[in-house]
Symmetry: C2
Subunit: 335 residues, 2 copies
């Protein structure tokens, strides 16, 4: 039994603590030095969608992105967990058409858009979501682009032994320090989901924040991906989503990205730091507060934008009548 | 700092543990003897909707339920967190009409039905939910019935000093052993949400399971409420919901009831036991597995019904394509 991670976030009601979220986080520089940390940062974690920027590296390094004239918007979508809004779905559809592929080539299943107006419009009109609506469809479009460029078959592009995933795992291993034989599960979108120590995930993000120590081609690749995400926060998540709003409020070039089961990464180029966090129980509400708090603690929220994310920095809990009944707050010894 | 509660439930992916839920539970008899427990069972907890049966006691004891000819179905709705299906909404509406009250008297806010087909029909038809759709509307109908019977004004029936809540807090105190001055917050439905030790919540449920030691009027009141819930599992929650399905699969007369932020109670009349559990982080998926496992451990799942709740006893996690990618399971030292 490893020791319990500390309580990092509390939900209150009537002035009492109602629920508690434990977790761990690491903030590191590109040399791997710990700048801040709590909890068991060596624990093996599934980064899930928080690591999509790592999974997109071969798309650039292979030359596939340039061969198929991928735009920065498409690169952002390759690193996105999008909300299934028209801007996301149409862009992924157009990208696939340009490389001679289509929705039927995607292995991710259909998913209702997270953007409520889009989901409601679909229900009203009797339409059903397709695989393009899956929040990971941009990542899969990137995989299919890479497969095409490598001359590999499209079918099975999500299998660990396929050239696409071989390249992806090599890139993930290279930046995180994990072995290429790292464990993996299957993600919600049917792609492999690598598992690695939380600290390694933070290190990879620090190396993207300060890429000078990387081989030039890799430094260029991660910088292009980071810049594409930072330039298109609305494509990385969507209208009203925490990732999108935090990136808009943060210092220029900053990237944050959520992963399922309450993982978050941050890339802080202004400081040359990377961060990774995981809430033990998978509670995304706690992960969102913690990443906002870490950006704030390191001075990465632009002062004039604080008001735009006041609800992310200090979330209130309201009842169905709209009255404030509690709050989500940082636990006393979170830092 | 109190010690950390044990990990009771784990979410796995690819054979590894991805997320962990800590918590506490107590199984007690009507004399308060612990039959089984894990974690810090003295910790103050908001039972939320899991305690609706306690909040409905004055509806019976006051004579209000009989004066207004409340049916067992209505008593079940008074103790319910319903899914906003037609059977729920219409029954609460008819009940309110019979006592000369209406939707406008309810202080609970409007809430989309949890039952997806009902929500989708509403969206398709351009309708909006009203307060009758709030999962707590039956509890509020009970409060309004009590107010009417007491000759108290309807307005403000959710305020702590209103005669309705005075009676409710007295009943909660009487069965749980908490003082009437117990702390409280405001619930999602704008009613007071008492806070009390988890063990006290379990004790109250044991006293309902084996009411012989209670004053006769109270014993009769809690037995009527328990029987009403057990007779109408579809009204206590709704189609496909865990509470409904577990009650149908359990020994006759058994009641289980969820509360927000991952609380569950169980009333086991066949054994004269009560149980209460709370997952620290508010993760309902873990609370549902744990209550199913506790019913099973105490032999309260009917053998011929096991197949009906196989997915509750051993939940699988699937991706958007429908493939099994992990599971929710009991942690090694849950028992």
């Amino acid at each position: 039994m490893s020791p319990a991670n500390p309580v990092l976030v509390e939900a209150t009601r009537g002035g009492l603590v109602e629920s508690r979220h434990r977790g761990a986080y690491a903030v590191v520089d590109a040399a791997g030095r710990l700048v801040a940390a709590r909890g068991e940062i060596g624990r093996v974690t599934f980064p899930r969608s928080s690591m999509k920027i790592l999974q997109a590296i071969p798309l650039i390094e292979s030359g596939a992105a340039d061969a198929f004239a991928c735009t920065p918007a498409e690169l952002a979508l390759a690193c996105a967990s999008h909300s299934g809004e028209a801007m996301h779905v149409e862009a992924v559809g157009a990208w696939l058409a340009r490389i001679g592929r289509g929705e039927a080539d995607l292995v991710c299943g259909p998913q209702m858009p997270a953007y409520v107006p889009a989901a409601e419009a679909m229900i009203r009109e009797g339409r059903h979501p397709c695989r393009l609506h899956n929040n990971c469809s941009g990542k899969h479009a990137g995989f299919l682009t890479l497969a095409r460029h490598l001359g590999a078959r499209a079918a099975g592009y999500n299998r660990r032994e396929h050239p696409v995933q071989q390249a992806v795992f090599a890139a993930v291993a290279g930046l995180t320090g994990a072995g290429e034989d790292m464990a993996f599960g299957i993600d919600g979108c049917a792609a492999p989901a690598p598992a690695l120590p939380l600290q390694g995930l933070a290190l990879a993000m620090a190396r993207i924040a300060a890429p000078d120590g990387l081989p030039p081609a890799r430094a260029e690749a991660v910088s292009r991906l980071r810049a594409a995400m930072a330039a298109h926060p609305e494509l990385v998540a969507g209208t009203g989503r925490a990732c999108t709003r935090l990136m808009r409020a943060a210092a220029p070039g900053t990237v944050v990205k959520v992963g399922a089961e309450a993982v978050y990464i941050g890339i802080l180029p202004a400081l040359g730091l990377g961060l990774a966090l995981k809430i033990d129980d998978g509670g995304t509400r706690a992960a969102e507060l913690l990443v906002a708090a870490l950006l704030d603690r390191f001075g990465q929220i632009r002062p004039e934008a604080r008001g735009d994310i006041a609800d992310l920095l200090a979330p209130l809990l309201r009842n169905w009548a709209g009255d404030e009944v509690g709050a989500l707050r940082l636990a006393p010894d979170w830092a």
